[in-house]
Subunit: 328 residues, 2 copies
Amino acid sequence: MCDTNTDDLKNIGEFGLIENIKSWLDSKDSNIDANVVGIGDDAAVINKISDKILTSIDTLVEGTHFTRDITNFHELGWKSLAVNISDIAAMGGIPKYALISFACPEGTKIENLKQFYFGFQELAKLAKVRLIGGDTVKTSEKIVVSVSIIGETINGNYFLRSGAKAGDFVCVTGTFGDAAFGLKQLLLDKLVKNYFTDRFNKPMPRFLEAKILGEKNLANAMIDVSDGLVFSLYEIAEKSNLGILIEKNKIPISQQLQKILKNLDYALYGGEDYELIFTVSEKNINEVVNSLKNVNIIGNMTDVFAGVRMKSENDKTENLVKKGYSAF
Amino acid sequence: MCDTNTDDLKNIGEFGLIENIKSWLDSKDSNIDANVVGIGDDAAVINKISDKILTSIDTLVEGTHFTRDITNFHELGWKSLAVNISDIAAMGGIPKYALISFACPEGTKIENLKQFYFGFQELAKLAKVRLIGGDTVKTSEKIVVSVSIIGETINGNYFLRSGAKAGDFVCVTGTFGDAAFGLKQLLLDKLVKNYFTDRFNKPMPRFLEAKILGEKNLANAMIDVSDGLVFSLYEIAEKSNLGILIEKNKIPISQQLQKILKNLDYALYGGEDYELIFTVSEKNINEVVNSLKNVNIIGNMTDVFAGVRMKSENDKTENLVKKGYSAF
């Protein structure tokens, strides 16, 4: 990229940037909320939210969670919001408001910042999330994006990792392994763009499914899957002090991935799918299956904590190892 | 510092760290709040807060806002919360809950992280702020700390930068220039520790004063001073579309700084004091002066926007330049 002094952050400064951000958002923002004092003061003011508030912060660091050659600014904007929406979804809540802290070198191009905010806003509109504040600060080299999010519960319902009951069905949304396989492809060829790379760079957090679960209070425990399916299953098992037995042939894998891979490694241990795992009592399972598209039952909570185990087609049971996923 | 593999972040991992953080906070935390689901799930759950919520995010970047040789981890923890509490104070609200995103190299010593959280918690206890979540992520080199904060309004009152009225008194808390002078001393000798360096490394945000102003709805506009007195005065003037005339001999300067400096440069243009500037109607000014210790009237809002001007003892008036403050 050519470097001119007329279009980078150093040239317009933080306060010039705030005006730019406002204009980028206005032109894209169809969900203006008169009850909010947003960007431009010391703090944002939010009126009228449910009695129980959900809040979370998540950070994407260049070199740790993304690199600029395989994730562009638009995708980074989308993803930085997606991982936060996913946290609120994992509680069964509705995401409402977000703040961005964007730390970047002062040579960062305004066009790139614009793409970042457009990517952020693209998902924000879909999920009805309003950007209400934040700051932009200077780093020497690496980009660090922190997003904090505020959501609300529906009828006061929320689901912790610790809420699973023995006998609960273990359900999941979507399919597993696609994002990690997408990253693998990008690491081999940074120009490739397909279903898998989109799942890595523009994951769709499950806010619609979470809303149904929260509204009807259908889950006992829930978590989103950023560190891999098995890792997240362990989180529910450990926090609930129970075991989990899943069935190998029930693990949902996309047709695209099935065509390519013979083994389950990506599905079990690949991260960044941002699907939901949730546990459901017998009395609610029919309602879950009927209300939610694209949900699969993959196993059950067992009554004693014995880690996470997997039953094969031939009824053999193996213990799965808890290991986290690291992108880079 | 000697480097062993038994006591750094790489060795215990993110999840080991979460357990450590919980133990550090428990041992220091006297304000446990049963209405909160805090650290350890996908998002925090907050019950019962006022109808109007205040929220903000602020980030400290190593090399931009601090360096490790002049700000230790304890001070960094304090300051990362202080700058956020100051944002809520600047709205006239009460800070309640905080989330930390701590990005650091994986070789970071656990003892240093502990000092960071102890510093954070020291101020959190004073200000009755509860740490309810966050994440810890890996950077290649530089530390980046983002804190998001949630506060509440009192009786629905809050003060924007844009709320000043012509004729309002312009009031300030505390004294100006000490923090910037402290930084200057630290840049000359990183081992020096005194009143000035403490004001730079452990600023005390004005949450007590803000609470009184919010409770009694005494201010029309308010801002905190991170970028310097004149810069923040300009923010109020511009956003309120009015002018400000201050009196040179009314600008509060600490006795310590008066002894050393002949001119006003540090007081006018030094940043990071985290004092409050607020404007007050004539009908409220007596109540302000009687209710708040350590407050000074430094001037008035004028009815036409003509920037920020300063009147000297000899009745000469000069226009002040809007320029921001940059630590490094």
